[in-house]
Symmetry: C2
């Protein structure tokens, strides 16, 4: 198992024995999930054996800013707060992520340090997809792997567009002020 996932258990997350047992519950999130959009129950059943499911009973840090990251998180229930330090070291809440939404795709994909920290804010259940397992999925089932990669690409494109527009707008505000 990946170093990152070992750490989740140390930090207080409980690992469920079977992720496949959560397939129907994960499939129920399809309508509100960018990652799972249009996935059939059969596809979710092919995906979940490559995931791990964890539960938390309250506030637990599940991703640490600056750490090397090798997994992404799909929230099944509960809520996760995303926090980034500004240059003065103050914590800034940048998002709250709930059921169906995902976290940490960037580091799962490129292995770069985590951009922000994530904490569960209430008892939560989440599924984790680690890079090595995702690569194995792509090798075992390239059609499903490519389809998930295509969705991840579209999600990143949209986020890049939003962030780029915010950057242009912020720089323009500066020019005015």
């Amino acid at each position: 198992m990946s170093e990152g996932l070992e750490q989740l258990t140390r930090l207080g997350c409980q690992r469920e024995p079977s992720a496949l047992a959560y397939a129907e519950r994960i499939h129920a999130l399809v309508a509100r999930s960018a990652l799972l959009q249009d996935r059939t129950l059969d596809e979710v059943r092919r995906l979940t054996p490559y995931m791990q499911v964890y539960t938390t009973t309250g506030a637990v840090q599940i991703i640490a800013e600056g750490d090397p990251g090798d997994y992404m998180v799909l929230v099944i229930s509960g809520a996760v707060e995303v926090i980034k330090k500004d240059r003065w070291g103050s914590n800034k809440r940048i998002a709250i992520v709930t059921a169906g939404e995902t976290l940490g795709e960037m580091s799962m994909l490129d292995g770069e340090p985590r951009f922000a920290s994530c904490f569960t804010r209430e008892p939560s259940i989440f599924a984790v997809l680690a890079r090595d397992r995702f690569i194995t999925l792509i090798q075992d089932d390239p059609v499903l792997g490519a389809s998930i990669l295509l969705r991840l690409n579209q999600m990143l494109s949209q986020r890049l567009r939003q962030t780029g527009s915010k950057l242009v707008a912020t720089m323009e505000t500066q020019r005015v002020s």
Copy 2:
């Protein structure tokens, strides 16, 4: 052929009869190309039949900001200028893209309007990958398709990280000023 590619010819780009004939020339760019990184000549030969190659003799617009986009561009030789209008309608040069580099991945992937305009600035050669051909490639050759998708994901992740950091830095500068 896609609507977007029809337009390239109308705008003054010359379409080459065979993209496969450019496979070796494209493979020679591997060392300086994020998209092609680690690709073998065999893989480039499997990819190029899904592409179109175009040449320009000088300044030609190859992507228009705001247009629906359905293809990405790999520069084979020459240079492409990337320009975005600010809110006052002034053109701002945001990048110069040269051999091995790519343009327009985001719209190819998510079909959203183009974020910026692109103009060749000298006689240039570029290969185009349209969304429908890329989807066909993924179906025909899911292993190669997934591998290219994985690279695109990593490229977008890195760009998102850079843009996100710039945004955070710009917002912090504002707070100081």
